[in-house]
Amino acid sequence: MGVSAIKGKEKSSYVTRFGSLENYEKGGVEIVNDDPRHYAFSNVFEVASNAKPYEKIAVGKNMEYVLEAIRAEGTSEWRTAAHDEFALVMDGEVEITLVKLDQSPLPADAEGSVALAGEPVGRRMGRVVARRGHMTLLPAGAAYRFSAERPGVILQQTIAGPDTQFRWAEIAQSL
């Protein structure tokens, strides 16, 4: 017996299954002795499917920290935070533009991001075009704007801010 025989035969190729707005399957919590709400089970593609462009809908919350599911579609407002945030594109293609603000509207210890009124004032930092699986730093003190020609999904690692929406009863499994 050769080594491969000993170890079992594998497929010649595998298909990695990602989700998308167009095509996702959802699992779920099967309860034996617990409350399904303790798991706050949702799906980012489902949440983004039912969202307006650039709504920041929490799909995860751990104390002050949140994960937001964001439907990227068209061009967002400009936003900024006093701390680093991270945007992981889960579907589609998203352009992210970054501007170093001359003056942040936020105190250094502010939590979460806020919208800026109008165009940001400061030096242009650069631009990222991110597709599925790409993760981008949204650095503290920078203004950022998302733009997507076709609907996409961003998962954002941040802290709850004034615009974070909590809609657990709508998005999370409750039975």
Binding site: N62, H134, L137
Partner: protein, 328 residues
């Protein structure tokens, strides 16, 4: 028993199967061809050495992780971040009711060195405790070389984000991270990044999915980005999580690709509480009073999201913070 060159690690000379025996506090560790044997003042326990080493590898790589690392229903560790409890029967109702459970608290450096020595001495050249069953040989048999290179892989801990200058590097064929056979179809193209002069350290994006497709280990959450204490710890998973993780805080899972099923038990008693099936895009919290073990039929990408705030274990243990993340 003699003390080896490594300070404080108490190890014997190799026994008849070629492996050293170890003593840590009142725990004693021994292996033979098939089994690991653990003894403590009120009892003893046997585990398949294959399972034992896979669990030990995670416990060390994670530096005892958040909360409890159950090697199985009897033995494990609880992290107190500076000290670690080693326990037997503590999260097993029958042992507790019989008052046969036993636990000892040791300084982290001592258990770190001792467990690392055990892992190194007990792993043969044919075995990689970080790999999936398809990727490695057998853990069994008498002492036969070593695989120090495999067992001493460093866990990635990005300070800000993977790929930033001076931070955890990207993975490539060149630096020894080929694409995994089960993730060969993952797009390897990096994002377009245009940086204005002066912002080289701040305008940054990388292909996280490509990065994960090149992971050479399974079930090893490693920090990829940090927003204060909010840590993204993605990992690739295949077959069965070699430990049962008991939480000391809420943790969250985001399934990035494929599918994992989680068996969720009560953290203290081991009674089944739920079964969570997660497909790509699914998000689920794991309450702070459970333990869980995952099953991944194909190598999949899982994002483990942790809150590293050191106050959390006390807040939850004292009841000031609930064991679940949201009331709705």
């Amino acid at each position: 028993m003699t003390t080896t060159a490594e300070p404080a690690v108490i190890a014997s000379q190799p026994n008849e199967t070629g492996y050293r025996e170890y003593t840590l506090g009142q725990f004693h560790f021994r292996r033979d061809e098939y089994f690991a044997y653990i003894t403590w003042p009120t009892g003893s326990h046997m585990m398949s050495v294959d399972s034992f080493l896979r669990a030990m590898q995670r416990d060390i790589a994670w530096d005892f992780f958040y909360g409890t690392v159950n090697f199985d229903g009897v033995f494990g560790t609880v992290n107190h971040y500076g000290k670690v409890d080693i326990f037997a029967g503590r999260y097993n109702d029958a042992y507790r009711k019989a008052e046969l459970d036993y636990s000892e608290t040791v300084e982290t450096p001592l258990i770190r060195e001792t467990f690392s020595s055990i892992l190194d001495d007990w792993t043969n050249e044919t075995f990689d405790p970080f790999a999936s069953p398809h990727e490695t040989g057998s853990a069994f048999g008498i002492k036969n070389g070593d695989n120090s290179k495999a067992v001493s892989r460093e866990r990635v801990t990005a300070q800000r984000m993977v790929g930033l200058p001076g931070d955890a590097p990207l993975r490539s064929d060149e630096n020894g991270y080929p694409v995994n056979r089960m993730l060969a179809d993952v797009d390897q193209e990096e994002p377009l990044v245009e940086v204005e002069e002066g912002f080289e350290g701040e305008v940054s994006s990388f292909n996280l999915f490509a990065y994960l497709s090149r992971s050479d280990v399974t079930w090893n959450p490693s920090v990829a980005s940090a927003c204060k204490d909010s840590l993204f710890c993605p990992t690739t998973e295949e077959y069965i999580l070699p430990i049962i993780h008991g939480n000391d805080r809420v943790e969250w899972f985001i399934q990035l690709s494929d599918e994992i099923t989680w068996e969720v038990e009560d953290r203290d008693t081991g009674a089944v509480r739920a079964r969570v099936v997660m497909k790509a895009g699914d998000v689920s919290a794991m309450p702070a009073d459970i333990r869980h073990q995952g099953y991944s039929p194909k190598r999949s990408m899982l994002l483990v999201w942790e809150n590293a705030n050191p106050d959390l274990p006390d807040l939850i243990a004292s009841g000031k913070t609930p064991t679940y993340p949201i009331d709705f």
